[in-house]
Symmetry: C2
Subunit: 224 residues, 2 copies
């Protein structure tokens, strides 16, 4: 590890099943940054979380040398700029950067919000959620095309933004009664390719562990 | 105008009352970029809009030398990076950049979505919208503090993101039966300061013109 890293204090306030937290972990791993990961309890949020993210009081928060950065894609961009000794996650060309950021934002608007309906929603919400979720993934699959990664030949920003959701695919498939591989085979092949990267493999929980969490969550909150 | 500008073809697909379109116009003016502004008709979208923004089919779209950039804050960031001969709208320091982008995103999540309830919503929605709208503005006013601009001494990214909404304040005040100046005097003083800038004054329609648009819109769509 470089001396540069040793100087820095990097703390991630996290909740392990969070796809947003996973993004930050992958970006830190890609940049080779050592960090301390602290798990938050949403029923009893830490004073550090309340202080570091007073606006949303939500994870993930990256605390770098005492200063907080909030919102997962914003954190990924920050990591990319603050630790710029390694290849960039975002392209350097302004046009390509804008396209990558467009797709990152698309994932937040059209995958994240919809997938909640898929596993937490009522039956009719689930059906609607399933249709829109698959539509969103197909749009992303079209954008991927025949490239190995969204970033082209190299794993990059859009890959970081999307890959955490694949740790939830098993759960979505069970609750949504669907096969994502059948609907989006290229996207599932891409996910397997990403999982060969250490940064991803280290940061994503096992799909069965996520499913166990989802089951417990639904029981606890008495969801159907 | 520099030769550099002359080489470029810059077209903005816009709809004049859109706060999102205004952001792009201000950023282009700040950078001294000449551009052609084309008004879109939502009942009859141009083939250019459908081709340039196939995902959302929405304005604003900036078409730079034939290549489209979508989503207003993404466009502002692109303009900042593509025309980097003028002072940057975003700070250059990664931490300060992350804070500015956090607030830009906050405006989209907590001002834009809520303000629609304020002028278009039903009575009970309006009351809820009014409360949340003022809360959002007060949070922003706290962030502004005693600085002349959100960017500090210089007009910057967060100022560009927020100032277009002030052209709608007159409309919100009438439909929402509230005084924004009474609730957020520092924010209104900031808006007046921003209006002294040519880039802003040129890009914002007169508040009465916006109100006329809102009235017609409500009549046409038979809203209360």
């Amino acid at each position: 590890m470089s001396q540069y890293m040793d100087k820095d204090s990097v703390v991630l306030l996290d909740f392990w099943p969070s796809v947003y937290g996973m993004r930050v972990k992958i970006a830190l791993e890609e940049k080779g940054v050592s960090y301390e990961c602290r798990q938050e309890d949403f029923q009893d949020k830490s004073s550090m979380l309340l202080e570091m993210n007073p606006v949303y009081k939500m994870i993930p928060v990256l605390v770098h040398n005492g200063k907080p950065i909030c919102e997962s894609l914003n954190i990924v961009e920050y990591i990319d700029e603050a630790w710029n000794h390694k290849p960039s996650l975002l392209p350097l060309d302004p046009y390509k950067r804008s396209q990558a950021k467009f797709w990152g934002d698309y994932i937040d608007k059209h995958v994240y919000s919809i997938r909640r309906k898929l596993w937490k929603g009522k039956v009719e919400e689930q059906e609607e959620g399933k249709k829109k979720f698959i539509e969103g993934l197909k749009t992303l699959e079209d954008e991927l095309g025949d490239k190995p990664y969204f970033g082209g030949d190299e794993f990059g920003y859009v890959d970081v933004a999307l890959i955490p959701f694949t740790s939830w695919f098993y759960t979505y498939e069970i609750y949504g009664k669907l096969s994502i591989e059948k609907e989006c085979p290229k996207l599932v092949a891409w996910a397997k390719r990403c999982m060969e990267k250490e940064s991803v493999a280290k940061s994503l929980p096992h799909p069965h562990k996520i499913y166990g969490f989802a089951m417990q969550y639904k029981q606890k909150h008495r969801l159907e």
